[in-house]
């Protein structure tokens, strides 16, 4: 820091303290104040010990003058003083002008006296800073010559050790943080700055005025740069001069106490070792410095500096802003597109759902019709098939009546007829049950089934429907454990259709060639269920349109069978294939179902 008013004279002050006590005690009796503890915080910029030595005589003088009060001196750093002042734990504070101005703005500190060190021409102009360089650096003539050099300071926050010179540089258009090659903080004591300059590790150093003059060992090695013509100070100084340290009250300090302390301090005898005080100086110059540097209470003024930075870096800023705007526009556009596409998608999904629902209904309807159509095509034989048991039952029943009428009814005959009647009734019921299951309207459901099982059931149904069902030979080449997720009834419908087609194709053949072969095998694409007939095969023109609806080669056919079969196959993720048999005449219809492990 810039100022240690009585440091060299501390020893003498202590020695003379005792002499003053009696006189001052008498004076203090004039104020009748409540006995209390008076806490005075002092900034210990040179450490606690130095501060106690410096301010000890003053404390002694106050105790003597104000015997009713307990005087406490608290040596504090900047932050500690601010904290205690805010909490109201100190009544007075003594600090450097810069710190005082900050606390004035922040906590309402109010100076009551200014130290009168006797160094400068007046207490209002006794603090200054000096820039020291090595002796003989004649090329350095003004502060502006510091541009691009290495500079040592105690700390960038120091008042007398940095900020005062900063203001002068600022006036010249120099920014220490920008325009120096290096701004090195060396810390206390301030002699380190002198040492750094002297040994050449930096080009210049900022120190408080009069420090160099008090250090004779550096006198011939260092010199002050651009000393101001201010003979009254008695030291070379590179900055303007500022008021000395103040003692200030805080908001809670009782005015009577403030007055008592002020009077006590002002009455410090000339001979006392304690520092002398004068009426409060004008600290406007400190305010001006802060305002110019936009620090302390005027830090808020730095906002325009940001603007100036922005001006300096406007191309980059412009790019940034352009990118930002582009990003915003892009985001808005994307949001808009997302919104539009989302609603489009939602509509499309809704439409698809509706179509799917309708299709499912139609498909179920079509499948149902297909099954009915197969039944219709089979109805002739079906009637015959039902007729057999019905006619047999009728015959037995009528025979029983007839025999009873003729009195020739034996128990054996009754038993035989009744047994036959029961069996034939069961046979008829079985046929009807198969048809009902097959013709029933239903919603499809898939379960894992062994294909061989489904084929066996279908062949049984086929045999049940036809009076003269041809021989159907089943070759199951699938592993026994293999099961497929399928709608058994739908697959039955497909196989039944294929069997029926094979049967129709074999109608004009001699009996030994009417045999149908059903083969279950694994195909490249999954599981194949093939139905092979030995008929004349298909006209290629018909073959190409085989799976189209309403194509039929039968006089009584609806032509729905294979087109529905194809759709069932596709609904299972499979397909339907028709190929001429490789060995001899006949067609092979294959239902291929995908098999996922």
């Amino acid at each position: 820091m810039s100022f240690a008013p009585t440091f060299p004279f501390a020893g003498r002050l202590i020695r003379t303290l005792a002499i003053c006590l009696t006189v001052l005690t008498a004076c203090s009796n004039a104020w009748s104040l409540e006995a209390s503890t008076v806490r005075i915080g002092v900034l210990a910029y040179l450490g606690d010990e130095a501060a106690e030595m410096e301010w000890g005589p003053m404390a002694a003088h106050l105790r003597a003058t104000l015997p009713d009060h307990t005087i406490e001196i608290l040596t504090l750093d900047h932050a500690g003083m601010r904290e205690l002042a805010r909490r109201g734990e100190i009544d007075f504070l003594i600090t450097n002008p810069g710190h005082y101005v900050e606390l004035e703005a922040e906590l309402g500190a109010s100076r009551i006296l200014t130290l009168e060190s006797g160094i400068g021409p007046s207490p209002a102009a006794s603090v200054g800073s000096a820039v020291v360089v090595r002796a003989g650096r004649d090329e350095l003539r003004t502060l502006a010559d510091l541009r691009g050099l290495r500079v040592a300071v105690v700390s960038p926050e120091a008042f007398g050790g940095f900020q005062l010179i900063w203001r002068e540089l600022h006036a010249l258009g120099l920014d220490p943080r920008r325009d120096f090659r290096e701004l090195r903080s060396v810390g206390f004591p301030m002699d380190r700055v002198l040492e750094a300059v002297a040994n050449g590790s930096v080009d210049a150093g900022f120190v408080r005025a009069c420090l160099l003059e008090s250090r004779p060992e550096y006198a011939d090695r260092l010199q002050v740069l651009a000393p101001r013509p201010d003979p009254d100070l008695g030291c070379a100084v590179s900055s303007r001069l500022y008021p000395d340290w103040p003692i200030a009250t805080l908001r809670h300090t009782p005015p009577a106490l403030a007055r008592a302390v002020a009077v006590a301090l002002l009455s410090t005898p000339e001979t006392s070792a304690a520092p002398h005080w004068a009426v409060p100086a004008d600290y406007q110059s400190v305010h001006e410095m802060f305002r110019e540097l936009q620090i302390g209470p005027y830090a808020y003024l730095r906002a325009p500096t940001l603007m100036s930075l922005a001006e300096r870096y406007w191309p980059a800023l412009a790019v940034l802003v352009t990118m930002l705007i582009a990003w915003v526009l892009y985001t808005v556009r994307v949001e808009h597109l997302v919104h539009v596409r989302t609603s489009e998608l939602r509509e499309a999904l809704a439409a698809r759902d509706a179509i799917e629902t309708r299709m499912r209904a139609n498909q179920e309807q079509a499948e149902h019709m297909g099954r009915l159509s197969v039944l219709g095509e089979l109805s002739g034989t079906l009637a015959h098939e039902l007729n057999q048991p019905l006619a047999a039952i009728g015959n037995y029943a009528q025979s029983l009546v007839r025999r009873a009428d003729a009195d020739r009814l034996t128990e054996a005959a009754t038993r035989e007829a009744a047994t036959e009647i029961v069996q034939q009734a069961e046979r008829a019921a079985g046929i009807l049950a198969g048809i009902r299951t097959f013709a029933r309207k239903r919603v499809g459901e898939r379960t894992p089934r062994r294909p061989g099982e489904v084929v066996a059931e279908t062949v049984a149904l086929f045999r049940g429907m036809l009076a003269q069902a041809p021989e159907v030979e089943v070759h199951d080449r699938l592993p026994p454990s293999l099961a497929i997720e399928l709608d058994a009834l739908q697959i039955q419908q497909v196989i039944l259709n294929l069997l029926k087609n094979g049967y129709d194709a074999s109608q004009d053949l001699p009996p030994e060639r009417r045999r149908l072969d059903v083969t279950l095998h694994t195909d490249d694409d999954g599981v194949g269920i093939s139905v092979r007939d030995h008929g004349p095969g298909l006209d290629p023109a018909v073959g190409a349109r085989l799976f189209e609806p309403f194509l039929t080669t039968k006089p009584d056919g609806l032509g729905l069978g294979l087109s529905i079969c194809k759709r069932i196959a596709e609904a299972h993720g499979g397909r339907l294939r028709a190929t001429p048999a490789a060995d001899g005449p006949g067609m092979i219809f294959t239902l291929i179902l995908p098999h996922h492990e």
């Binding site: 009637a383 057999q388 048991p389 047999a392 015959n395 009528q398 005959a413 034939q424 009076a467």
Partner: protein, 210 residues
């Protein structure tokens, strides 16, 4: 019926249950029934027309040889056995075809028992009548067999009602010779008039006098 043994009913149907029910029914009214599971079985059992056959009860649709095919076969073989067809289908075309080929009856399943019984009775009756007519024809033929070729020529012309004089002229023989032949014919056939002779000849051969 006392003549059941002479009029065995052959039932041919591939449906075992129905076949058995037919047997049961026909036996209820006293017929003796022989069941066959197919047309082939029937032909194997009866290589020639049996004497004691009453009629056939025949299913039209059968897996290998159908009822109509068997009817055709029997016709080719010259059998005269009456056939009662039964079918599960109201197939008019088949019925017409069967009746044209001389079927005795055509029943649609399921039928009232009386219909079948009547149909079988009719068929058997027809069979008996035919059998009688046949035996009369055989008798007539046997009588005519006794005549020499020349006597048969004379007998045909006499049966046509020609006087001896015209017969002689047509055969280019004397009237006296015609007279002798005529006497022999009447003696051998044990007949008294030309009209009786004409009836006998027609009985033996309906086309004899064309």
């Amino acid at each position: 019926m006392n003549d059941a043994a002479e009029n065995l009913i052959h039932v041919i149907d591939d449906d075992t249950a129905f076949r058995r029910s037919l047997v049961f029914l026909l036996e209820s009214v006293g017929w003796q029934v022989v069941p066959h599971a197919s047309a082939e079985d029937f032909l194997a059992a009866c290589p020639a027309e049996p004497e004691a056959i009453g009629c056939l009860v025949l299913d039209i649709r059968m897996p290998t040889m159908s009822g109509l095919e068997l009817q055709q076969q029997l016709h080719v073989r010259g059998w005269n056995v009456p056939i009662v067809f039964v079918t599960g289908h109201g197939d008019v075309e088949l019925a017409v075809q069967a009746m044209k080929r001389g079927a005795s009856d055509f029943l649609e399943k399921p039928f009232k028992d009386q219909l079948l019984i009547d149909a079988v009775a009719n068929a058997v009756r027809r069979r008996s009548a035919e059998r009688e007519a046949e035996s009369r024809r055989e008798d007539a033929r046997a009588l005519l067999e006794r005549l020499s070729p020349r006597e048969r020529e004379v007998a045909r012309l006499v049966a046509l009602g020609l006087p001896n004089k015209l017969v002689a002229r047509q055969l280019d023989i004397s009237e006296k010779t015609v007279h002798v032949h005529r006497q022999h014919v009447m003696e051998k056939t044990e007949l008294g008039s030309a009209a009786e002779l004409a009836r006998l000849m027609l009985k033996a051969d309906p086309n004899a006098l064309d």
